[in-house]
Subunit: 262 residues, 2 copies
């Protein structure tokens, strides 16, 4: 008899992944094992809604600054004043800023990620979306969207509310420093076909619909945007923000800087 | 609008995975890239029918003998005579045996795997299941089921036919050297619960129902057995084979040796 195939369980796949990655890195706490004995590397699995699936080692979430990509260093060097690290994950960016004496708050929607950040020493953590955090009354000079987290702008539907929430959280003259990826350099038909289907549906080409999977858990499906800097400029147009700088020295990755207008 | 989630495409996920792993290892040929430019490690993704998913770096399929686990060395040292390497994959075992002058044939059901083995220098390759290969008229002294390929025995339904096909391919006094994994050492409820559900359905506890996924491709679902050596002895009982040796020095992994009776 063939058992019925079941779906993964809804849950904090990202938080569990980071917890296990921390256990592997520190040697402390239960770790994923093969056959109950042999260690297994922690792999993050990202599924796209067209059936594409990719795995990537999760250890980079815990990387020390010495192992970072150059754009991450250039991003943190632009930080000024009270800083909100959006999607703080395992806290690698927040930890460096703390060390430099920057007042930094780590924001994440994953409780598991916040637990890992706490255990790694991040002092100021908030469990919320940017929209929810507005009511907390705290205001910032710099917003960081690193680790490709420009993706959180999602697409045309979400961008206005996302940028408005950042503006509501902003002090005068505030900046956003966002790490994005231009997805259009590929000639891989799996990707170019996906971009075309997205556009036919009125979505941006690189508006990925994804879920994370880890062991028996999966997140809900969510939109995550990879866009060109031209598309980003259009999304920002008409918002309280202005795109004032693009650093694309590590193309296809780029750092976009937005400045609060008025 | 939320696009409809699609299923992966049926195809030779394993062969594509090995092709890309070879391209990464040699630097020759198209490789998986991020953003059309940056290399991406090749990760094999294994999905179980209860929603569990795991990723593992694929590079080990190409490992040189110096990087092998100890049980692989002990397995090849037991080889005698004409040898059939069942599930030869990227051919790492067959290549070493060739070098030692052993007459070795690599068997696989993945055309992509056979192409990779061919390019790596394996000379004698067959695209078939063990059952299909019987009609080819070739006979062997040693059958290898390495890389955990004892799993190909699947379970109680498949084992008699699988062992009979090996017997039909065997010369007098032939042996099977099979690498298995005892899955019952774990206390992880995701696994112990799966084992229990399997048993309630009349399956062996570690009779995994799996599919491989790589990028946009997935194999069909198939059974793959992780069993204790006691369960193996029961499966072999009444077949033309006898379980004559178990080497469990690297538990939970073991090497089982079967000998043709009569």
């Amino acid at each position: 008899m063939i058992p019925v195939t079941e779906q993964p369980r809804a849950g904090d796949a990202y938080g569990e992944l980071l917890r296990d990655a921390l256990a592997v890195a520190t040697g402390i706490g239960p770790r994923p094992l093969v056959g109950g004995r042999l260690p297994r590397p922690v792999i993050e699995i990202i599924e796209r809604d067209d059936g594409l699936i990719n795995g990537a080692p999760a250890a980079h979430y815990l990387d020390e600054p010495a192992d970072w990509q150059p754009y991450d260093h250039r991003a943190v060097d632009r930080v000024v004043g009270a800083t909100l690290d959006i999607g703080t994950g395992a806290g690698r960016i927040a930890l460096l800023l703390q060390e430099r004496g920057v007042p930094v708050t780590g924001l994440d929607t994953s409780l598991g990620a916040l637990r890992v950040s706490r255990r790694r020493g991040v002092r100021d953590l908030v469990h919320a979306t940017v929209d929810e955090h507005v009511a907390d009354g705290r205001r910032y000079d710099t917003f960081l969207l690193l680790g490709n987290n420009l993706g959180l702008i999602e697409g045309r539907d979400r961008a206005p509310a996302f940028l408005a929430a950042l503006a509501a959280l902003a002090r005068p003259g505030a900046q956003v420093i966002a790490h994005g990826t231009d997805p259009y350099g590929t000639r891989d038909p799996v990707h170019t076909g996906y971009h075309e289907r997205n556009r036919r549906r009125g979505r941006l080409g690189g508006q990925l619909r994804l879920r994370l999977r880890y062991r028996e858990l999966a997140t809900d499906w969510f939109d995550y945007l990879c866009c060109s800097t031209e598309e980003l400029a259009e999304l920002v147009h008409g918002s309280p923000w202005q795109l004032v700088d693009v650093d694309d020295r590590d193309a296809p990755y780029y750092l976009a800087t937005l400045r609060l207008t008025g």
